[in-house]
């Protein structure tokens, strides 16, 4: 009997329906028939398991690298196949046997059943992450099962049936399968044709009412046909095309660093039923922001491991999304490695600015930060930022010929140079500083209680993660607790560090921009400056900002901003607007973690592609992209509400501020802004 071959899924299903009508038993091949792999080569899952085993060995004080583990696995597996070949026609291997042997050779006496089970769980988790059920074939299988046909899954693979059942269960169709048979259990495979008589005898089947379905012309076509079983082979050109694309990217990534990140993105792409139509917002989150944020956090985690940092705090509110991304990628990227424990810390510039003055007073560098945003103008803004009550300073200000509304910012009309000089003299005044400290002491005490609750002072070295840009949150944060001798060394990680004002770097307190840092020349990375607000809004938590820390009789309480005013409503509207974007980021991050783990790429490997994403999406975006993604509201309590004089703000329009028509029809617009960016960077 000649088997039948179909070259498209539609014709395969049609033919399958016809043949199944005459049969009571249908056996399905598993891999590439019911389950398809994201990666072109199934062996690429193995190195990630080797890394897992090597990490575990290193934690146990054993000096093993992952290539050594992989080589040993290959040797043991090959040895087992040779041994099996002496007794059986098929040269099969059985995973629990060769993996057990591998672990025994590496871990010696420490290799037990629990260890094997742990490694197996990890291998199956990685397999599951790479396998996707072929939707239409699985639907057909379920329909056949519902018609009362006997359904068996038959596979030539080193995983025993018990493991295959876990893969099928994860794919969601174990209920529709009567039994799973693997060549790893019997060493009788489809390749030799011996698996079919085994099944016939074990389940009392008849060849004439039996249909076998698979993808291999030899094992799934010729062999069952020889026995008189009807056989149907699917050779799906679309699937071959998909795998050819993956293979091409993978091969190029081995020689050209640029393609590494693109290969990760290729493996991130959804398949089969995962591939639904989504809003452009979600697509942007999945394909653009997820790799950028996940790459950033991969870099942070790698640096923490290098420095031996055991605790990491995500600063609110952008840290909310960053923590979610971290939680998605870390289980895949850093199994068995001592990555830091994480917490989400409620902080804000406004809440910390006041608390930072309790011990050191209001220092000049901090006071000058107030006047960086053009919306701040006078001493009232200083008081608003540092949570001070202006009434307490009326007499002191009078001594320095200042008033609460004297213009102190050169962005505003009415500014006189002597005003700021007087203001700087005011900062030297003891009486002024005493009043500042008096007003901010309670907030500082409450902050310390909060940090104690968060175990902050129990570590020697902590990582602080935020989106960017000046590092003012960490600056105020560190200054608020620096007086305590148990304050840990604070290593700050920012998505981008613009350093608009010099950061007071010391051994105990420093920041590091991952994608962009003004201290290191990085032209591509600096394109992040095109749309800083996009990253802030995309990562922002859907809860109000923190206004301050307050002492209470029971200890302390966190005071959040009310959301009933226009600003609060605008913030809620923005949250709703970016909800889909955030969903896309979360989904994409998980896939990023899986893909980067399978490929074994580090942050440095993926960095060129991340730079490309920044340049292509921020500096050379499509007009529709900007119009769709551009945030509706960006709110910052740090900024005051004063309008600067037009002369001062003239010429600051950014590319992303241009209209859709301007972006669409002006061919040189992007280039003009990019040349301006180059000029600015060179001037720095």
């Amino acid at each position: 009997m000649k088997w039948q071959t179909c070259y498209t899924l539609d014709s395969f299903l049609k033919k399958g329906e016809q043949l199944a009508k005459q049969c009571e038993v249908i056996t399905f091949d598993l891999f590439d028939t019911l389950l398809v792999r994201r990666i072109h080569d199934p062996d690429l899952v193995k190195p990630s398991v080797a890394r897992f085993v090597a990490n575990k060995a290193q934690r146990n004080g054993l000096d093993w690298t992952w290539p050594q583990v992989q080589t040993l696995r290959d040797e043991i597996e090959a040895g087992q196949r040779q041994e099996t070949g002496k007794r059986f026609e098929d040269h099969e291997a059985c995973y629990p046997q060769f993996m057990g042997e591998l672990l025994k050779q590496i871990f010696q006496k420490k290799a037990d059943a629990d260890l094997l089970s742990e490694v197996t769980d990890y291998e199956l988790m990685m397999e599951n992450s790479m396998l996707v059920p072929r939707a239409e074939v699985v639907e057909w299988l379920s329909a056949l099962h519902a018609q009362g046909k006997k359904i068996y899954v038959l596979s030539d693979v080193y995983l025993p049936a018990s493991h295959l059942k876990r893969l099928i269960e994860h794919a969601g169709f174990l209920d529709s399968v009567d039994e799973v048979i693997s060549s790893a259990d019997s060493f009788l495979a489809k390749a030799s044709g011996l698996a079919f008589p085994l099944l016939k005898d074990r389940y009392h089947l008849h060849y004439e009412s039996w249909l076998h379905v698979g993808d291999n012309p030899f094992s799934d076509g010729l062999r069952p046909s020889e026995k008189g079983i009807k056989a149907l082979v699917l050779r799906d050109s679309s699937e071959k095309f998909r795998k050819a694309v993956v293979k091409r990217y993978y091969n190029y990534s081995q020689g050209q660093p640029f393609w590494k990140g693109r290969t990760v993105q290729q493996l991130m792409l959804p398949m089969e039923k995962e591939s639904n139509a989504f809003s452009p917002m979600r697509v942007y989150g999945y394909n653009v922001l997820a790799p950028l944020l996940a790459g950033f956090l991969q870099g942070v985690a790698e640096d923490c491991l290098r420095q031996g940092i055991k605790r990491l705090y995500f600063f609110s509110r952008e840290g909310w999304m960053l923590k979610k991304v971290w939680d998605e990628i870390v289980p895949f990227l850093f199994p068995e490695l001592p990555v830091p424990e994480t917490s989400y810390l409620y902080v804000s510039r406004m809440a910390l600015a006041g608390a930072s003055c309790a011990h050191q007073g209001l220092i000049r560098q901090n006071a000058d930060i107030v006047f960086l945003p053009t919306g701040n103008r006078d001493f009232r803004d200083v008081c608003r930022v540092f949570s001070l009550k202006p009434e307490g300073f009326t007499e002191i200000l009078h001594r320095f010929d200042l008033q609460v509304d004297t213009v102190l910012s050169d962005h505003h009309e009415g500014y006189l140079p002597q005003n700021i000089q007087q203001f700087h003299r005011l900062l030297e005044d003891d009486e002024f500083q005493v009043e500042v400290k008096r007003q901010t002491t309670d907030a500082n005490k409450a902050l310390q209680l909060y940090l104690q609750e968060q175990s902050f002072f129990e570590h020697e070295h902590v990582a602080l993660v935020d989106i960017g840009w000046l590092g003012t949150i960490q600056r105020f944060f560190f200054e608020a607790v620096n007086h305590r001798k148990e304050t840990p060394r604070c290593q700050g990680y920012l998505l981008g560090a613009t350093r608009g004002i010099e950061y007071p770097t010391t051994h105990k307190n420093c920041i590091h921009g991952m994608l962009y840092d003004r201290d290191r020349f990085n032209l591509a990375g600096s394109t992040i400056l095109y749309a800083q607000d996009l990253f802030e809004e995309a990562c922002r938590a859907p809860h109000p900002t923190l206004n301050g820390y307050q002492l209470t009789p029971e200890g302390f309480t966190l005071v959040f901003r009310e959301q009933h005013d226009a600003t609060g409503k605008a913030e809620k509207e923005q949250d709703e607007f970016y909800k889909e974007l955030q969903e896309g980021i979360k989904e994409g991050s998980r896939q990023y973690g899986i893909a980067a783990s399978i490929l074994g790429f580090k942050y440095k490997d993926i960095q060129p592609w991340l730079h490309y994403l920044l340049v292509s999406r921020l500096a050379f975006p499509k007009a529709d992209e900007v119009a769709t993604i551009r945030h509706k509201h960006h709110l910052d309590d740090f900024h005051g509400h004063h309008s600067p004089s037009n002369k001062k703000i003239k010429g600051r329009k950014a590319l992303w501020d241009n209209s859709r028509n301007m972006l669409r029809w002006n061919p040189l617009l992007r280039l003009k802004f990019f040349l301006r960016l180059i000029r600015d960077r060179l001037r720095e």
């Binding site: 071959k240 095309f241 694309v245 640029f258 393609w259 792409l269 959804p270 990085n522 180059i678």
Partner: protein, 77 residues
């Protein structure tokens, strides 16, 4: 309007390979920064052809996959 997360030619949506080509061209005249050497022209060309026109040859030649593979191996030595 709804969008797919992946294009029909298994590229990122929005003609990613076209975007890479565009920046590759710009990068020849204006430095775009550290892109890890970006790509070689040959790689870019092959990927562009694969994404744009790959589906049809795969559909037509899948029937002759085995003899073509044998021929390819023979030619490759």
């Amino acid at each position: 309007m709804k969008q797919q997360l992946v294009s029909k030619s298994f590229d990122l949506p929005g003609n990613e390979i076209g975007r890479v080509s565009k920046l590759y061209l710009i990068n020849r005249f204006v430095p775009l920064g550290n892109l890890g050497g970006m790509t070689r022209f040959r790689e870019l060309l092959i990927l562009t052809v694969l994404h744009r026109f790959g589906a049809l040859p795969f559909r037509l030649l899948i029937r002759y996959e085995d003899p073509l593979t044998r021929l390819y191996k023979k030619l490759k030595g």
